[in-house]
């Protein structure tokens, strides 16, 4: 029966090509626009550390003085060096890492390469196991190397390709900003999107080429990048000058495996704040936050407003297209009143007619979905031509492709419901009589 209806649908659609083409076009345009924007939204609001993100937390404490204090205010979004080191050495979490971004000149030994600048991450050792970075060769440094201000570096596979032709470079020397570093590890391709652990560098499609111990950076006065907020008479932080004690400029991440551990860690942050207050370092009452990774991204509003607006707009457009399709289908089905009357008179139930008409709508939806997928591919290609940092990430994945067809089919069936129901209300006798 299904096949027969399919055959009927096909015949009927071919009978009135212009009307069919208009319906398919409307569905395809609406679906194409919505899927394009939905894909961008889907990519941008993705989880940068799938399977792990729920255990990764970003602690915040409030070391500022009493000026400008108000009870509802959020604590600063970074840490001072003193607090960062205190929390790091307290080691109350399963893993913890203190970090900062920067830019360093690489001075290759090969005379064929000019010196060039790369993005750097200065961090303590737990960064690698905590975020699960994949290693191609070698391994990370450890916390003893951190304290020893070791001249050790982990490089990205891109940099390894550029300098060593992709060979195992572990143990070799790399000159960074005039200092010789020993390469201890080479990362495999690793670029979490968004660049969650430091959003000051731009949220998407950013990655570092070299990773070196934070304390080594402080020792060598390497240049830092990113945000630096001071209060009181705080200053510094310009290029190679370290920020003052009254400036927050470091990111601190911890790994806490269970909710109970997270609750205990939050308590620890409160205790720490109180302790610092009795010591006279902190002036404000404890004001702490402990957000997990996804909450942190949400709090920072990483997904650009423009992208959300576009998605809304695309769905508005889809609704316009659907209303249009409802109208066209109504016209199409009502025109077939005579044919439907004959089928009714020959014994088809209203239900059977409804199913037949909905199958016809479904065929339109599938063809429209196919067109929509093609349009979405074109739309995403257009998005990729844009200069925004996330543009390169806009690709259609299998789940979104499936979503395209489901959305097209669902939307068209919904659109077909009213016209089909209306067409089924034909009184068979009336139709037969007038012919």
């Amino acid at each position: 029966m299904f096949q027969y209806y399919l055959d009927l649908a096909w015949r009927s659609l071919r009978r009135n090509k212009v009307l069919t083409a208009l319906m398919v076009l409307a569905i395809a345009l609406g679906i194409g626009a919505s899927i394009t924007t939905l894909t961008v939204l889907h990519v941008l609001s993705g989880d940068p550390l799938p399977g792990r993100s729920a255990e990764i937390y970003y602690p915040q404490i409030d070391p500022q003085d009493l000026r400008g204090m108000s009870p509802s205010k959020e604590p600063p979004s970074q840490l001072t060096l003193i607090d960062g080191m205190n929390l790091l050495r307290a080691a109350r979490a399963d893993r913890q890492a203190l970090m900062k971004g920067g830019e360093v000149p690489i001075q290759p030994e090969q005379s064929t390469l000019d010196p060039f600048y790369v993005n750097a991450r200065y961090t303590t050792a737990d960064f690698f196991p905590m975020f699960g970075t994949p290693f191609l060769f070698g391994h990370a440094w450890n916390s003893a190397d951190d304290e020893a201000k070791a001249r050790q570096v982990v490089i990205s596979s891109d940099l390894n390709q550029k300098l060593f032709g992709g060979a195992n470079s572990v143990g070799r020397t790399l000159r960074i900003s005039g200092t010789a570093f020993q390469i201890v590890g080479v990362l495999d391709h690793w670029q979490p999107n968004p660049h969650f652990y430091d959003l000051n560098t731009g949220s998407y499609a950013y990655s570092e080429q070299v990773f070196l111990p934070l304390q080594t950076m402080i020792d060598l006065h390497l240049s830092q990048d990113g945000s630096n907020d001071c209060w009181g008479n705080g200053g510094g932080g310009t290029d190679t000058v370290l920020p003052a004690d009254t400036c927050v400029w470091l990111q601190f991440w911890v790994q806490l495996k269970t909710p109970a551990e997270a609750a205990a860690y939050k308590q620890f942050l409160v205790h720490y704040s109180e302790e610092q207050r009795t010591l006279g370092r902190f002036q404000r009452p404890p004001n702490v936050r402990l957000r997990n990774l996804m909450q942190w991204l949400d709090y920072n509003g990483v997904v650009p407003d423009d992208v959300r607006l576009q998605t809304w707009l695309a769905f508005g457009f889809l609704v316009v297209c659907l209303v249009n399709t409802v109208g066209l289908m109504l016209a199409k089905f009502m025109r077939r009143a005579a044919e439907l009357g004959v089928r009714r008179a020959l014994g088809a139930s209203r239900r059977a007619l409804l199913v037949q008409l909905l199958i016809e709508a479904g065929v339109v939806g599938l063809v429209g979905g196919f067109g929509g997928a093609l349009l979405a591919l074109g739309g995403l290609w257009l998005v990729r031509q844009r200069s925004s940092d996330y543009a390169v990430l806009a690709h259609l994945d299998p789940s979104m492709l499936l979503m395209t067809f489901l959305l097209a089919l669902g939307a068209t069936l919904l659109a077909g419901l009213l016209p089909a129901w209306r067409a089924c209300q034909i009184a068979p006798a009336l139709q037969l009589k007038s012919n």
């Binding site: 060039f116 009181g232 200053g235 510094g236 607006l309 457009f317 316009v320 109208g327």
Partner: protein
Amino acid sequence: MDIRPIFASLRRHRIPALLIVLEIALACAVLCNAVFMISQRVASIHLPNAIDETGMIEVTLDGTDPELAGSDIPRNLAALRGLPGVRAAAVVSTLPLSRNNWGWGFGTKPDDALTDRNSRNVSMYFLGSGGDAALGLRLLEGRLFNDGDYADSHFDKSPLPETHVVLVTRSLAEKMWPGQQAVGKTLYSMPHYYTVIGVVADVLRPYIGDVNSPANYDAAFFPMSAAGSKGALSHYVVRSAPADRDRLVREAEQKLAELNPGGVAHGRSYLEIRRGYFADMSSMAWMLVLVCVVMLAVTAFGIVGLTSFWVNQRRRQIGIRRAVGATRGHIMQYFQTENFLLSTGGVVLGMVLAFGINVYLMHRYEMARMPWFYLPAGAVALWLIGQASVLGPALRAAAVPPVVATRSG
């Protein structure tokens, strides 16, 4: 023309009539908001900026030793000034719309500090010797920097410069000292203070908010000596006639790379900086235009489709009317009036919907309030589209010969 028969007929075709009304309403609502968003972006892209944009290029020089800036910078500038076509050259800390922002809070009272709630966040531009002229700042009141101002200023431990003079934009002057003469007043950020020596025409900040943000021009200019700049001065600005600009981008970049073997020089014209800053915005505006055009086309086709169906259904009635004396013009008029009535219902509903959407977007996305005239403008657009799309079917209806009335079916 009597519209009562039209109403009577519409009452018998409630669903198609409602669909047309709904389609026009939705299209009107989306159109008004989309056009408003486009206009906001276009206005941002064309925000005025009182520097010499068309004749300016920038070369960034990174990786030089800040300790040697005192001798390097004058040497580099002398070389740049020696290039043919160069009218002025200087080194600055950052440029408008370059996204490289140095912000600081300033107040108007001696004990105002950075974190005070009443201090205003201001973008700081540090200008090396001759920077005011190289940027082409337009002086409105007071004076620009002199050689003494430049030589006296340097960085110490603080990110604020050790100097006591500042130039402010007109917008900033009006906000800090409303209705007063700004020249001679003082900007405070404990323990630093700066006397305003001049007011210049509005220059944009390195990073701006949306077009309606009142803070887009909150900028101040400080002199800075090469020797005391601690690496803060790394953007070389070169001014020339627009015709020489593109050649100078290459030549200046090459010159600085030659002179500073350890450094990395990168040149671009100021127009590129501006284009780059607004690239996203302009592509969003184009996308909105595309959506509007396609949406209007879909709406028009929908109206054509439904009206055609309608005409076909009523061929017999039309034939009868023609047979009893209606002219072709009458028939045309009938369908046009019918469409006008439906469009009117649609745009009234659409304007309400457009307003609602705008209020929601204002609430969720800090969008501005849509000016009232967008609503009638959208309504007129939809009316015109409705009339244009009904023309084809109406002509076909008018072509129905009276003889149809005598046939059955």
